[in-house]
Structure formats: C-alpha cells, structure tokens
C-alpha cells in the first residue's frame, strides 16, 4: 500500500497562538481515514495546514510522494487533492452551474456532464443561486466542486454538519463510493460514531496533538473512549437510532 499523504510533526500557528503541536498522520491509497476530536482540538487547522491555506511553521508534508511543504493551496489542489471546507463555503451569490465552473480544468472522468449525472438534484437546480440551496444540496455542491478536480485524494471537513440523518447517509454513501473508486479520503467529523462506522482508520486529536491512532473498528468498540476522546454527543446516538 503506498502512502497518499504523509504529514510529519506539523506545528501551526494563528498569529502568535500555537495551535498544532507536532501533528503527524498518514493516509494510504484506498482507505478512509477519519480525524476526530472535540471542538477546538485543531481538526480544521490540521486540514488547512495540509491544504497550504494555513501553512505550518514547522514540519513536512508529502502528497503522492511529492514534498509539498510550503506550496500554495492551488498547487496542492492541482496535484489532485479535493477539499470540502468546513461550512461548505459555497459561493452563495453564484448559480450552481457557475459554482461548478470555478475549479481548475483537469483531465479525468469528472466533467460537468458526469457530475450532473452523479448529482441529478444539482442538475435540476443548475440556475439557482448557491445560497438558495438546502444544506444537503450545498454539501453535494461542495463535494461536486471538489470532484471536478478529478482528485485522487479527498479531504472533507465535517460534511455531516447541520444535515438531516437521511441526507447524512447519502453523503456517506457518496464518500464510500469515491473510496471504492480509488480515491483516498481524509474525513474530519464531530460525529464520531458516524465517522468510525465508515472509516478504515482513525486518529484522535486533543489540543493540537494526536492522542490516539488505530483501526476505526477497534476505537469504535471502545465506547467509553470514543465518548471521552472525541466528545461524541447525544445527538450522534440519536442518528444511530435512526439508521
């Protein structure tokens, strides 16, 4: 199995505040890896560091075997890294179609046409403003936008946030399909149970450093640990009850 991502000893700051204290993680080809942790643990900061949006002061990042430390975000994206940011960051004043015309043009199976086939709902809403979409539709749009880069590595920041349980399952199915098609996935989730059920491996982040890593199933089995480390909330058991 070859590594898609190898991050070593990331030290990231926002101004003077030191947020990541030496985060290291690996994502291999063909797996879904989840990164868990309480609010404010540094999950988003980790993803932003990997994408080059908040470059780490120290540490090394390798993607597809290429040293990308210090690269600007657009170059990292063009290597074939799709990023679905926290809060989705849809361009609310642009139409769905225009949102999908923003990503850089790449070669591969994902084009506007194939994307509209995969997400028929987006096709129907082509000329609606991004801001008028429902949360689920916005999430689909954010994933679609990232897929247009024809990524071999997909990074998602809390895709389930604010979505109804049924829609969450839709999103998870999409993510699993992508994995099955050979896209490696790094998934950040508040909803630990949900993430563990879908992931192959898991990391837990606590106050800016990795405090646990291992197979997802193993961590899922340790209910107390999940509750304590990942801050799994009551709402997540509610979702389990539904699904």
């Amino acid at each position: 199995m070859s590594a898609v991502l190898v991050a070593e000893d990331l030290q990231t700051y926002y101004g003077k505040s030191h947020i990541l204290h030496g985060v290291s993680l690996t994502v291999n080809e063909g797996e879904i890896v989840t990164l868990l942790g309480r609010n404010g643990a540094g999950k988003t900061t980790t993803l932003r560091s990997l994408m080059g949006l908040t470059p780490p002061k120290q540490g090394r990042i390798q993607i597809f075997g290429q040293d990308v430390t210090g690269w600007p975000a657009y170059k990292i994206a063009r290597l074939g890294v799709g990023y679905v940011p926290e809060g989705r960051k849809i361009f609310g004043h642009l139409t769905v179609h225009d949102n999908l015309r923003v990503p850089a043009l790449t070669k591969g199976r994902w084009t506007l046409e194939t994307i509209y086939k995969l997400f028929p709902r987006l096709d129907e809403r082509r000329s609606s403003k991004g801001g008028q979409l429902s949360g689920g539709e916005q999430e689909m749009l954010a994933i679609a936008r990232a897929l247009l880069l024809n990524p071999r590595f997909l990074i998602l920041d809390e895709p389930s946030q604010g979505l109804a349980p049924v829609i969450v399952e839709d999103v998870m199915n999409t993510i699993r399909t992508m994995r099955d098609e050979g896209i490696a996935v790094l998934l950040v989730e508040q909803n630990a149970w949900l993430a563990l059920r879908n992931a192959d491996r898991a990391y837990v982040l606590g106050d800016g450093s990795i405090v646990h890593e291992g197979p997802a199933a193993e961590l899922a089995a340790d209910e107390k640990r999940v509750k304590a480390l990942a801050g799994a909330s009551l709402e997540t058991s509610a979702i389990d009850a539904v699904t």
Binding site: M51, L53, Y74, P85, H93
Partner: protein, 288 residues
C-alpha cells in the same frame, strides 16, 4: 432649455469617465482589496500614450493600442509593487498607490512636459450631428457608445467566461477559489490589469474631450470614488450608474448655479449615505 440639454449632455460625458474609472476601481477593490489611488495617473498615461501613438498609427489605432499598453504597465506594477502588499495592512497599499500616482505624474511631466497638450480627434468625429443641438458632435456620441460597449463587454466577461466567474467567486472568498486549484496570484493580476485597462480607455477618450494635462486623472479620481459609494460598494452596475448620476447631476447644477457643480457631487454622496448607506445597488453581489 438648450443650455440645460447642453449641460446634461456634458454631464453625461463626464459621468462616463467617472463610470469607466469607477468600474476599474471597483474591480480592483473587490478582488485585489486595494484602494487604487494611482488610477487617475493610469488614466493620464492612457491619454498621453495615445497622443504619442496617434502620429504613428492614427487615432483609431491609438484608441485600441493605448488602453492595452496601459493595462500591460498595470500588470507590471501589480507584479512588482502591489503583490508584496496583499494581506498586509490596507494603509500600505494606500500609501504605495498614492506615491505611485505622484511618481507617474512626474514621469509624464518629464516625458511630455508640464503644460497641457491638445489631442486631435479625426475630422469625421468632430462635426455636430445636428444644426440645433450643436453640442452633439460625432465624437461625444461615439464616446458614450464606446463606453457603454466597453462596459457591456466587461459584464459579459464576468458573467460568461470562467475567468469572470472565478473573479466573482474570488470577490466573496478568494481562499476557497485557491483551494479549487486556481492560481489566485494570476487571477488577481489579470483583474488588476483589466481595471487599469479601463482607466487607460477613459484616458484616451478624456484626452479627446478635455485635452491632456499631467493631472487630468487626479481631478477625475475623487468623483469616481464618490460614484462607487453612491452606486454601492461591491456592485459594478452600481459604480457605473453612480458615475453617470453624479456626472449628470453636476451638469444640471452647472446650468443654474455653476459654482455649486462640484459640491453637488459630495452632497449627493452625503444624502445617499444618510438615506441608504449601502448605496443604490450595494449589498447585492456583483451584477445581481
């Protein structure tokens, strides 16, 4: 009555200059996040370059080449001077563009002299189109039509091309655009150059109407900022309308009370800020 029409028409033409300036300023403010105090100097440069090109390639050639030449110089200025200032305190870019304006004005004085120069327009354009309305010359009509055409082209570019879509997206969230694989350094450079190209075009047109002086752009700059505020920051259509409105308003006031024609611009701004602080078309996104 004729005098009123005369002044309204004059105001409309000045308003077109404000509008072309305001469009460029708005573009640059939106994506580059820079209040470009050197915009007027680029306008003057457009006029002067056209002046020097006219004997060589004629008026029509100069009309096309000069704005693009100025756009290229803008591209260079962005690359060398502006780029290092992105993400820094806005005060830096304010001071830099202000200084750049001074330097460019002095360069113009050095190359072309401090006194005004006449800019001749082709005979075909200088005749009145009507005996009664003697002030409606071919050139003035041409000027209005070309300005509207350039504006329409810009709107079409922003609406229909990928670069335009990315510029509009970047106005709202440049970081996400970059995470989608777009070279935002290049996007900002293109955007800046297009904004400057519009200043250059305004410069050529203004030269034929107002003549050339090194400070010709400086006197158009403040009203253009007012046009943006009146039209609504963030709305290109608003900037355009704002420019025309204050130009025409100043023209009307000139008929009855010439001394107040400058003041009225700021009066309109004050009223807009009190009654509708976001400007006529503010808050809505670009073009919407």
């Amino acid at each position: 009555m004729e005098l009123l029409l005369f002044n309204i028409f004059n105001g409309l033409i000045i308003g077109m200059f404000y509008a072309l300036m305001a469009l460029g300023l708005s573009l640059i403010l939106g994506l580059n996040g820079i209040i470009n105090f050197s915009h007027g100097a680029f306008l003057a440069l457009g006029g002067y370059i056209a002046y020097s090109l006219t004997p060589v390639i004629g008026f029509w050639g100069a009309l096309i080449v000069s704005p693009f030449a100025v756009g290229l110089i803008g591209l260079l200025a962005e690359r060398v001077l502006i780029r290092p200032l992105y993400g820094r305190d806005p005060l830096f870019s304010l001071l830099l563009t202000f200084g750049l304006a001074m330097i460019m004005q002095d360069l113009i004085r050095t190359f072309w002299g401090a006194t005004g120069l006449p800019f001749t327009i082709p005979d075909t354009l200088s005749h009145p189109l009507s005996q009664v309305y003697f002030f409606v010359t071919g050139y003035r009509v041409f000027l209005v039509v070309l300005s509207l055409f350039a504006t329409a082209s810009l709107f079409a570019l922003l609406r229909f091309t990928r670069v335009g879509v990315r510029i509009r997206a970047g106005n709202a969230d440049l970081e996400t655009v970059s995470a989608l694989g777009i070279n935002i350094y290049r996007l900002r450079a293109i955007n800046f150059a297009v904004g400057i190209l519009f200043a250059g075009l305004a410069g050529v047109l203004a030269a034929g109407r107002l003549g050339l002086t090194p400070t010709m752009g400086a006197s158009l700059l403040m009203p253009s900022f007012v046009a943006i505020i009146v039209g609504g920051v963030g709305s290109l259509l608003g900037s355009m309308l704002g420019g025309i409105i204050i130009g025409v308003a100043a023209g009307i006031v000139t008929t009855y009370y010439p001394a107040a024609s400058d003041v009225v611009i700021y009066l309109i701004m004050a009223v807009v800020l009190v009654v509708r602080p976001r400007g006529l078309l503010g808050q809505e996104g670009l073009l919407e």
